[in-house]
Subunit: 340 residues, 2 copies
């Protein structure tokens, strides 16, 4: 039997009783490590720490051990499985899992969120079926439904979009058309849009690669500030008024964790950046000739008085609000902060 077990939003005690039974009955347990991370202390986007993949994925260097302890299974019995492993070494994962065979064992693949929220694992399920292995899915919460925590109805969202880190040469903006479709519907209220923000945990450094060295970049997690800036940059380029500086948005961080944070503000307010960013900019300004500050930078320093974005460490998600119902309006008021 192959169990695909959702870990929910990521704390060890977010697993379900059904999932825990599956883990404890399994001869081998893998933790999928490429589509999400467990929350906890992870380096933020600006950090240059060279965290190991394990510490990033599990939230601490001893994260896998913490999971083993929480699940009452032997130490070192959870193995990290990256994309290549799941896709190319599925024979190893599925070994001896055939239904009714003499040496049949259970195997569990742990997945942060819900195991089937993307089609990523359908291929593994199909391979399992081909070799006569039964598959059991243990569902759990994912950002797709837990985003309801901000007070916007989960049933009033249009298609979700992904926003990846822009580089100087690569700025994919296919999200723009989707947001446009969600917000400018014929004869109908605008829908909300959930923006899933980029996670880069195992990227190779392209500069080092050009020298023949395979060195990984430090992990990066997009925050709501960068997402807002990228969104506004694309609106400037495309100019179809899918949204604008005044568009109301909700920033969410570490949804479901004890230190979950939610903030409401306009895209422009989010774009101004976190207190940390603004402090760094102010320090740069102090150490430079005033004349070197360009107008945009100066404006950001002056305007950076709103705390919409004080959301702290990753993971962040951003919601672009559509038309609000009265209840949604009231629910969002909870997160509105006064400018200081």
């Amino acid at each position: 039997m192959l169990f695909l077990v959702g870990l929910g939003l990521g704390a060890p005690d977010d697993i379900t009783l059904k999932g825990l039974k599956a883990v404890q009955s399994s001869a081998r347990v893998y933790l999928e490590s490429y589509t999400a991370i467990l929350p906890g202390h992870v380096a933020d986007e600006s950090s240059s720490s060279s965290s190991s993949v394990e510490s990033v994925v599990t939230g601490s260097p001893s994260g896998l051990q913490a999971l083993c302890d929480a699940y009452s299974i032997p130490a070192n019995s959870i193995k990290l499985a990256d994309r290549e492993f799941v896709e190319q070494r599925s024979d190893e994962i599925l070994e001896n899992t055939e239904d009714g065979s003499d040496d049949e064992v259970n195997v569990t693949l742990l997945v942060v969120g819900d195991p089937l929220c993307a089609t990523t694992h359908v291929d593994l399920m199909l391979r399992a079926s081909e070799r006569g292995t039964k598959v059991s899915v243990v569902h759990n919460a994912s950002i797709v439904n837990a985003v309801g925590t901000c007070g916007l109805s989960v049933y009033r969202y249009g298609e979700a979009v992904s926003i990846v880190f822009f580089t100087d040469t690569w700025q994919p903006d296919s999200f723009y058309d989707k947001i446009l479709a969600n917000r400018q519907r014929h004869n109908s209220d605008a829908l909300h849009t959930l923006c899933l923000l980029d996670i880069q945990v195992k990227e190779y450094d392209p500069v080092a690669m050009s020298r023949g060295e395979f060195r990984r970049n430090p992990p990066r997690f997009m925050d709501v500030h960068r997402a807002a800036r990228q969104l506004l940059a694309v609106e400037k380029k495309r100019g179809q008024n899918a949204y604008g500086a005044d568009t109301l948005a909700v920033g969410l961080a570490r949804v479901g964790a004890n230190d979950q944070a939610v903030a409401v503000g306009t895209l422009e307010e989010f774009a101004r950046g976190s207190a940390q960013e603004r402090a760094a900019a102010a320090a740069r300004a102090a150490s430079e000739e005033d004349d070197d500050l360009d107008e945009e930078e100066r404006e950001r320093l002056e305007l950076g008085r709103f705390d919409a974005g004080e959301l702290g460490p990753p993971l962040h998600s951003l919601v672009l609000c559509g038309t609000l119902t009265d209840v949604e309006q009231q629910a969002l008021e909870r997160w509105r902060r006064v400018a200081v």
Copy 2:
């Protein structure tokens, strides 16, 4: 402290460890009984059994007791809370929950699915905040993300719709515009649409009411067959080609339960009905003059050879497929049955 605890898809062991801790720490535990039901043996739409609300909501007359046993809490310590109770008697629910007060207790409201997947409980959260009660939300799976089990990407759904039981005089079809918007997007592939099907567990019998008697109707749960027929009836009326008889759909039943069922077929195939319905129609036909069969009925009997819809008891959901990716196509092939 007020805990809003998601029960996930409904079996007792679908609760998370975090949710279980909340329940076990609570002086009072309520089960929200109006937006969903726990799975198990529930009367289907055609049944005339007069099941009690408790047996319907919890799946068996001893359902609440089974939950108490599963959670290792005292017998009879879970109270059913219907809509009126949650909305109008929130003072009773929130009694002595104020943060830091001398007699502070924890209280848990159990909710099938995810507690914040609709805005239903935002009002209770706001009332709690007003009186100084901390609120902790324990997320869990809901149909919104668990629908991924069929193999269609959860990120490629447009706005979800609700389909309610039509009567002779009341046939609300606001879902039509939403499906149209999901399927006919400008410059873009069509999105999938999740159709949430009506549940009526505490409806008063209007005929009895007109005689001054308050008698509840037996519970009804819409199945995929009726949903498909209502959808096609509305298309016939509206005629904007939002979908049609050939539109591919996925029927899902008891998602996440051990006896979960999934079937793929066209809307027309689903509309033909279940084996039970077809057998009943055949029996009626045998006991009547052949001439009494109208053309539509005869056609349904003749065409009813596809088992797309053999999904069994509630709860059912229906997905209208948008444009399929290759992986989605392959994933759906698993559920395709051969006509018999």
